[in-house]
């Protein structure tokens, strides 16, 4: 069939015009008897490795809640946005969710950068935000609840294990943005407490792929163990090149971020055996609630659905915790839900164990686990129970100063 250019252009123009007109109106009007929530996780672009499982677990949570009769008798409708790893789209979609769709909850953002884009927007337009990714800590905003662990909860187990079991001299390498910088500072603080030293802190931009010089420098410094906070696909090259140089068995690695990008599955067993990581969640946790959840997850999404790590499960945990607030409040209005969540007795037992929402910080008290990679699976060998999110507790007390709205950096 020969298409003339003219007809092609006519069709394209008409299509574009209709799409634009359609995009100006809400996709479906919000009915009175439903609750609407929006998920805002990257499902394409570089961050899709985190965003896709988060969206899936969020969807699973919504389906489970609806199957149990909804919240307070009302069904939940989930709107899924894909910001395509693009900050501008994060801002646009946050505005769209708040102003056009008038959602009751935005569950979103993966990196701190994207969270800091949408947090002021959602605060201004009074739409609740849940952030469920491990991060550097410090958010102090009554409109923003955080189920991800902050740096203090996150680093302590890794630091303790490293300095007690591997040696007194650590060498730290991390990605070059503010979260790994802050984690490096926490590591130094804990090293002081535990009688060890951090020989050096090196940071690499996120797109560095050549780690030859870096590896040579580490070899020169001769540390007892290597603390890594590497992020993203490019940094995989480090673990590959490290293993290729035969360093895996010579200088052990204790990482904060290894596994969060399913690195243990991307690397072969020879490249990753023995690496230790500390996370608030592993798919291998031996709780009945977790086993049941993993089974449900694979039943819903297939046996080759992405491995669940501490980031991927955030979509489920955050949604369920928010749902606890809604149930307690009896309504899905923002004010009562916020009060309910901040009442101090929102506690929930899920796949990651016992979680309690803390009214002072709007963060979540939860467990941490230390595990080692063997044959591309995690073996958990130590757990820390109910760690408190006290990163910036010196300056942030939302029960006393509820108008505080900032992202603070810890003073160490």
């Amino acid at each position: 069939m020969k298409l003339s250019r003219r007809s092609v252009l006519k069709g394209a123009g008409a299509g574009l015009g209709t799409a634009f007109a359609a995009s100006l109106f809400p996709q479906v009007s919000k009915a009175d008897d439903e609750i609407v929530i929006a998920s805002l996780f990257d499902q394409s672009g570089g961050l899709d490795i985190y965003g896709t499982p988060m969206t899936m677990t969020c969807e699973l949570a919504v389906e489970e809640l609806n199957a149990a009769g909804g919240l307070n008798g009302k069904k939940i409708r989930l709107i899924k946005y894909d910001p395509q790893s693009n900050m501008q789209l994060y801002a646009q979609y946050a505005q769209e969710a708040a102003l056009k769709e008038k959602v009751d909850l935005v569950h979103g953002a993966i990196t701190s950068a994207s969270r800091e884009v949408i947090r002021p927007i959602l605060s201004r337009y009074k739409t609740m935000l849940w952030y469920s990714v491990i991060y550097e800590g410090g958010v102090c905003d009554i409109n923003n609840f955080v189920s991800g662990v902050g740096a203090q909860q996150w680093v302590k187990p890794a630091a303790e294990f490293g300095f007690k079991n591997r040696g007194k001299k650590a060498y730290y390498i991390g990605a070059d943005y503010n979260a790994p910088q802050i984690i490096g500072k926490w590591l130094e603080k804990f090293s002081g407490d535990l009688g060890g030293t951090v020989l050096q802190r090196d940071h690499f931009p996120l797109d560095v792929t050549e780690f030859g010089p870096a590896i040579a420098k580490i070899q020169e410094a001769k540390p007892d163990w290597l603390a890594t906070c590497l992020v993203g696909a490019a940094h995989m090259g480090f673990y590959r090149q490290w293993a290729a140089a035969g360093m895996l068995n010579k200088i052990p690695i204790v990482s904060s971020t290894f596994g969060v990008g399913n690195e243990h599955m991307q690397l072969t067993a020879e490249e990753s055996n023995g690496i230790v990581s500390a996370q608030p969640y592993f798919q291998e946790i031996e709780l009945p609630a977790n086993k049941a959840f993993v089974a449900r997850y694979h039943a819903r999404y297939g046996s080759d659905a992405p491995y669940l790590n501490s980031v991927g499960i955030g979509g489920y945990l955050g949604t369920m915790l928010w749902a606890e607030g809604v149930k307690k409040a009896g309504t899905h209005e923002r004010g009562p839900v916020m009060d309910a969540l901040r009442s101090g007795d929102i506690a929930w037992d899920g796949p990651a164990g016992h979680m309690v929402v803390d009214p002072v910080t709007n963060h979540v008290i939860q467990d941490m686990h230390v595990a080692e990679v063997q044959n591309q699976t995690w073996n958990i060998f130590k757990s820390y129970s109910q760690l408190y999110p006290g990163d910036v507790i010196d300056r942030c007390d939302l029960t006393k100063t509820p108008d505080m709205n900032a992202h603070l950096e810890p003073i160490l």
């Binding site: 394409s44 672009g45 570089g46 899709d48 490795i49 896709t52 070059d176 090196d202 940071h203 690499f204 931009p205 797109d207 560095v208 792929t209 050549e210 030859g212 010089p213 870096a214 040579a216 420098k217 070899q219 020169e220 696909a233 490019a234 940094h235 995989m236 090259g237 590959r240 090149q241 293993a243 290729a244 140089a245 035969g246 360093m247 010579k250 990008g261 399913n262 599955m265 991307q266 690397l267 072969t268 020879e270 490249e271 080759d304 992405p306 591309q376």
Partner: protein
Amino acid sequence: MDTVALLIIEVLNGISSLALTCAGLAIIFGMMRVINFAHGEFMMLGGYTTVVATNAGVNIWISMLILSPLVVGIIGILSERLIIRFFYGRMVDTLIATWGLSLLLIGIVTAIFGNYITGVSAPLGNFALGQYQLSVYRLVLIGLVALLFVGIYLVFTRTRLGLIARGTMQNPNQAAALGISPPRVYMVTFGIGAALTGLAGGLLAPISQIIPTVGFTYVAQAFITVITGGTGAVTGTIIASGIFGTVRQLVTYETTPIIGGVVLLIVAVVVLRLLPQGITGKIFRRSL
């Protein structure tokens, strides 16, 4: 003493991986003047071919040296026939077309393989150099890249195929008058360029990440290197890789990778300011 040896090896590593990422582009852009924005994605496809084949049981060397170039060469020829051949001579139109192609390739690979797959570890183990431990594979890679460029040079200057290719690029009408079919030559040359890019992706697979969006990390540096190299595609690329690779590795070793990257870019800017036609615009002017 071993630090000096280490630095030399690191510099050669840097030069060889940079040159490797540029090899195919030197042919496609350097000779054919086609801006292939999907260059990074061809490399990604080469990497995926190696990984998928090796994980399915094929010997890693066969996957890297034979399968990757073959598969990506075929994909390159398909792209050329279906898309790129309509835009020859219109340098900037090929830009949009190959940009669309790159997005399409990323999308297809993500749809088939998901966001991540298990990679392959580097073969050949490691060796000790004084207090340092280094990968044998990387050393071998240096040698392979050198051989590769020698091979490219010889093919394009000493063989009949190379002669036909160069002649057609210089003067298609004359070549047609002599009975050669320019569209055929373009297709084959593009295929060779794509195959070289696939080979690069395959060879780098054991030491880099294997995700659909890995192309972005290669494309900017590859273009800057090839263009700064100038009109003599192969020689220019070698010289430019030599300069940039050395500078970047040395600076990175002394300071940080950020400064290393920035210095590389500044050197590119300065070189172009001094040699506005690229390096081989002034030096080795008549080379390939």
